[in-house]
């Protein structure tokens, strides 16, 4: 379908697709098998200026919005979601600085991220604080001109490879969620270490590790925004990131559909290509409908975000939950259409099926997405009375 892209958006999409098909696709099986971080591909993306897609122009980026971000992540995910996640995690680390950082913080960190010389990460989750983010136990104690951080962040994408880590920690335990603050911690700050590389079901090209903070003393100007803004910063960051997760889902699902449909044209059973068998054709038709419906929703939400609305938590959650549930279903169906072949690691759809699962879990589980949507609905219908 034609989504009426501007010439600039078309150029961005073409460039990202080119990298997905020329660089990512040939490497994805190897990266997955070896659980290898895609340094080379991130270098290509940086060379193409894409590391700066969402970073404002005055900090060396392209200054583009949510919609362009969605086009970019969709295209990269047609190649590999593991690679796309490694790339996009840097944006997740950049958003808090872009949204709430001081001018000095922006000038210090954003140009490096935009050029792709600096990778970033965002660290909220802890062992006892997953969906219940308010249960975090990491602390940041003010001590003169410094903060001293202690705690362990779990399952952090890009931990250990990111130079800049945004850490959510409690500055006032008594205040609960209102006592959380966001800090910039460098990879090489004394007292920072990283846990073992997690062994994951999918997105194995991406690195997931613990960030361990032991008496990490950082200057007080590494606080983002003000004390107590940690959760607002987190929510705004995740609201912006969620259509990106939806975009990854569309890219993955489109790619799974492409594989399954091409296979169905080649594979003969009962004297005909299995594409001609109605049971198969209907599955492919359903997959195509779901992919297109998700794309339309994710694009619409991203374009809405670019109109700068005051609150878009509900819409962002909708785009994430719908598209990622869709991607899981489409990936499962792609394996089914391809039968025994689909189950083999010689074909890419089993990897897509493994990769799809995380999209329903990270950046807020799909159950939490429904909570957010439900809460917003409840408010809307209360007002209407």
């Amino acid at each position: 379908m034609d989504y009426l892209l501007t010439e600039e958006q078309q150029m961005l999409q073409d460039l990202a697709r080119r990298i997905a098909y020329e660089k990512i696709k040939p490497a994805r099986a190897r990266l997955d098998e070896a659980e290898e971080f895609p340094w080379e591909i991130l270098k290509d993306l940086a060379q193409a200026d894409l590391a700066g897609t969402i970073i404002p122009e005055q900090y060396g980026g392209l200054g583009m919005g949510a919609f362009e971000n969605v086009l970019l992540l969709e295209a990269l995910s047609e190649g590999c979601v593991g690679v796309a996640v490694s790339f996009a995690a840097s944006f997740l680390g950049a958003y808090p600085i872009m949204l709430y950082g001081s001018e000095e913080q922006k000038q210090t960190y954003l140009p490096g991220i935009a050029q792709g010389n600096t990778l970033a990460a965002f660290a909220l989750t802890e062992a006892q604080a997953g969906s219940d983010a308010s249960a975090i136990a990491t602390t940041a104690a003010k001590d003169g001109d410094a903060y001293v951080l202690n705690g362990t962040k779990q399952w952090i994408t890009n931990a250990g490879v990111a130079d800049v880590n945004v850490i959510i920690a409690l500055t006032d335990k008594a205040k609960g969620p209102r006592g959380a603050s966001a800090f910039i911690v460098h990879k090489d700050d004394p007292g920072v270490s990283f846990g073992k590389k997690e062994r994951k079901m999918g997105i194995r090209a991406s690195v997931t590790r613990e960030i361990i903070l032991e008496e990490v003393r950082i200057p007080k100007d590494r606080l983002i925004g003000r004390e107590g803004q940690g959760f607002i910063i987190t929510m705004k960051t995740l609201d912006l990131a969620r259509p990106g997760a939806g975009a990854m889902a569309i890219g993955l699902a489109q790619s799974a559909l492409d594989e399954a449909a091409s296979f169905a044209k080649e594979r003969h059973q009962f004297g005909q290509p299995i594409f001609a068998i109605q049971a198969v054709q209907h599955m492919l038709a359903d997959m195509a409908v779901r992919v297109e419906a998700s794309r339309a929703l994710v694009y619409a939400v991203a374009r809405y975000i670019d109109t700068d609305p005051k609150d878009f938590s509900k819409e962002a959650a909708m785009s994430k939950v719908f598209a990622t549930d869709m991607a899981m279903q489409v990936a499962i169906d792609a394996v089914q259409v391809m039968g025994g072949h689909g189950y083999m690691r010689d074909y890419p759809v089993e990897k897509m099926m493994r990769d799809a699962k995380i999209l329903q879990i990270f950046e807020g589980t799909n159950q939490i997405m429904r909570n957010i949507i439900g809460l917003a609905l409840s408010k809307e219908y209360t007002k209407k009375k």
């Binding site: 150029m11 080119r18 990298i19 060379q47």
Partner: protein, 262 residues
């Protein structure tokens, strides 16, 4: 500051090329035009040398007006400027007439320290324009470079890929160097460069601009014409001889005479 020129050619996409059985020429209708893939390695070599030593990369191509698209695309990789050599009088040029036209453009640009070309174009596959360009300009030609090392003081060390290994040589600039794909991995285009390329002004130089005689260029200036196109026969066995150059030369001469008698 190094003045680097990269010659590129717009060609039909390889896997879609068909031959007209009557005229033996390429059927170009409906086939997408791309930059000759080998030329992207030449461009990458030029860009890397520029980044390492400082300088400017100018793109040069001769072709119909639509060849401007190839220059614009190549600018998207980060080349500084481009010139299109286009005139009805240039049409039908063989390799000599093409090289002569390019050489005149190089002179008009004030010469260059280095001129890069791909090892050959995938449509004609002649690999002639590079060496002819060097001949006309009266500067050295180094074919099939697979590695370049800047030795300083206007000297480049080049490894040339051969059938049975490589040889290494030093060349004093200016020179024309053709590259093979083993030399590098071309970068991906950059978004910012592509945006600039879209707006870039690409001057077109015509016969008049180049102050050439119409009889020297295009079909009129061509010594050759295509009579028939066919796949080349498979290569025969090769032999490697070692020994004293004089002795080898004598042996080679004897062998050539023997082969010529057959």
């Amino acid at each position: 500051m190094l003045k680097i020129i990269v010659c590129i050619k717009q060609v039909p996409e390889t896997d879609k090329v068909r031959l007209d059985p009557e005229t033996h020429t390429l059927i170009r209708e409906g086939v997408q035009a791309i930059i000759n893939p080998f030329d992207l390695y030449a461009l990458e070599a030029g860009l890397r040398l520029k980044e390492a030593q400082g300088g400017q990369v100018t793109l040069l191509t001769m072709g119909p007006p639509q060849a401007e698209a190839a220059l614009r695309e190549a600018l998207g990789y980060g080349a500084d400027e481009a010139r299109l050599l286009s005139d009805r009088a240039f049409a039908g040029a063989d390799t000599w007439a093409t090289a002569l036209t390019l050489a005149q453009a190089v002179r008009k640009l004030g010469g260059a320290d280095l001129i890069f070309t791909g090892k050959q174009a995938i449509d004609g596959d002649t690999a002639q324009v590079g060496p002819m360009l060097a001949t006309i300009l009266g500067i050295p030609y180094v074919a099939w470079a697979r590695k370049l090392t800047w030795a300083g003081d206007g000297v480049l060390e080049v490894e040339r890929l051969l059938d049975h290994g490589y040889d290494a040589l030093r060349v004093r600039l200016p020179a024309v160097v053709s590259v093979v794909k083993e030399i590098n991995e071309p970068r991906v285009p950059s978004f910012k460069a592509k945006m600039q390329a879209k707006k870039a002004v690409i001057p077109t130089w015509t016969l008049a601009d180049l102050e050439l005689d119409p009889h020297e260029v295009g079909l009129a200036g061509s010594f050759t014409q295509v009579v028939r196109v066919f796949p080349p026969p498979a290569r025969g066995e090769s032999e490697i001889w070692r020994g004293d150059p004089q002795e080898l030369a004598a042996r080679l001469w004897a062998r050539l005479k023997e082969l010529g008698r057959r």
